[in-house]
Symmetry: C2
Subunit: 315 residues, 2 copies
């Protein structure tokens, strides 16, 4: 199966790894001269990292599935799916969808990596709009498998079903929204937690470090293998309904106690920044990001081993 | 060092494991006849699980550190710290703190496992109130190390400092609140995410299963080893201030888009319950809970191995 990657920055390059790792032929195109060359070099390095960390067998074999196209038309020719990852402005997105509309085949589906702009804002004008949707990944998608699929009002159910099946086939975890909503689901859930975390700092209740450890040494452990609903389903003898009746009033009280939140104004940002820079200097951000990526790779391997064991026990 | 565990249900028993594992002498007392016997049997079983999963070396050695006291006075005699875990009502908490006030030594500190009632509601009347606070664990504390320390207005700074040091010594991750707040920090952060998750179901945006996978295959991965602030600190080139300026407006839009939330009413609970029971039958809840505990144990071992490796690389 051929996949076209349009826009080959950080996000597009990471998508190329997802599809090539799964055995797809991947064609890269970026309108900026030299961008696809840089992407291939970055992809090669990431693939070596993945091989080194035991997540893929043969980085060279995977890399060989990725090629560069000399035009948008060449990139999408014969592609079952196009993953669009150009710069995230409405104007850029509208322009690339206009261009794609002229060259894609009649069965090709186009997913946009848009993290916040809904597809209705940039696909209303194209003939192929029933085959367009948002397919928003986490970063990087080859280590964090969730992909949220967000239909525009005119996206066909068949398009949603095909992209959901494709994402599952290539090893991602697609989640399907029924309609567009501000921030989609990933950032709404992240935003809910962040909003409370920032407000706790604004109120002087706890330090940035302590709030972080509440998650990294607490809530985040179960959430790395079970979602919030399964967590509470297992936290009351009778399951989720039992839990909701026992603790619903507590959560309502918590919700009602927080009606107003402070904007992330300059003073509040400066305070969070001050606390973070005490924990990690500006100069160490890159080293720590590399550490995070290694931790994500090791966690992915751990989760794979756990899934294999579950399967063995079930059979 | 001697630790007294007062109230030996699920929470108290789990605390006994934390302290005994770290080498403390643990004295159990429960006013219900036979309760401490049941606790010892449960503790023995949990310790064997931990040994079987490579988290402790000698379960028998740890178990030997745990004894039963025949009275409250005997339990707390010579104890540096008392962990109170009786039934969570204001009346029960007030009664046990009155009783403790009569028998604790002049240096003994008392932490309550209260998950929601603040210490100011049940320690105002006791002479030792400067040495009382809430020390609320996650469940179970021997696998999820976060403990939130919540002072009443009269809790002394020395008490906070001593319990923080003690919890770190025994391998927990203490976080210190500056004052009491509805739901404390753990449940406020969990509640923020849950509130948004339930509302997404109420709005028909996504299924319970898909919302769960947004966390378990997405947001929860990084959160299992980094908190929300460190996550965003590493998600923009210039760190957290850069991130806040780029994405603050998006999160504000998300926040502003959700002013009203629906209560967890019977119809909404029934819908979540229906979806969860399709994923997991009522009869399978216990089996799945045992699976969760094994996963938590394996994750704890994984995290310990990662921490050891980080230390090796640093040295």
């Amino acid at each position: 199966m051929k996949i076209a990657i349009i826009g080959t920055g950080l996000v597009g390059s990471a998508w190329a790894i997802v599809f090539a790792r799964a055995g797809c032929a991947v064609s890269l195109f970026d309108s900026v001269p030299g961008a696809a060359d840089k992407a291939v070099a970055m992809i090669a390095e990431r693939l070596r990292d993945l091989e080194h960390n035991g997540l893929i067998d043969q980085s060279a074999t995977v890399l060989a599935r990725i090629g560069q196209a000399s035009s948008l038309a060449e990139a999408v020719e014969g592609a079952a799916y196009v993953q669009e990852s150009v710069f995230e402005t409405v104007a850029d997105k509208r322009a690339i969808f206009s261009a794609l509309d002229n060259v894609v085949g009649p069965d090709t589906v186009i997913g946009s990596s848009s993290s916040g702009i809904p597809a209705s804002a940039f696909t209303d004008h194209v003939a192929c709009r029933a085959r367009c949707l948002v397919a928003h990944p986490a970063n990087p998608p080859y280590l964090i498998p969730v992909v949220e699929l967000v239909p525009a009002p005119w996206t066909s159910p068949d398009t949603m079903a095909r992209v959901r099946a494709l994402m599952s086939e290539v090893g991602q975890e697609p989640i399907a929204l029924t309609r567009e909503i501000q921030g989609f689901v990933i950032n709404r859930l992240q935003g809910a937690l962040l909003s409370e975390a920032w407000q706790l700092v604004a109120d002087g209740i706890a330090s940035v470090e302590d709030i972080d450890r509440t998650v990294s040494a607490g809530l985040g452990l179960r959430w790395s293998f079970m979602g919030p609903f399964e967590t509470i389903d297992l936290n009351a003898p009778g399951g989720v309904a039992d839990y909701a009746r026992r603790f619903g009033p507590l959560y309502k009280d918590i919700h009602d106690s927080r009606r107003e939140v402070r904007d992330w104004d300059d003073a509040l940002i400066a305070e969070v920044e001050r606390q973070r820079r005490e924990a990690l200097t500006q100069a160490s951000l890159a080293t720590r990001s590399a550490w995070r990526d290694r931790r994500l790779m090791n966690l992915a391997r751990h989760k794979r081993a756990m899934a294999d064991r579950d399967q063995t026990e079930d059979s």
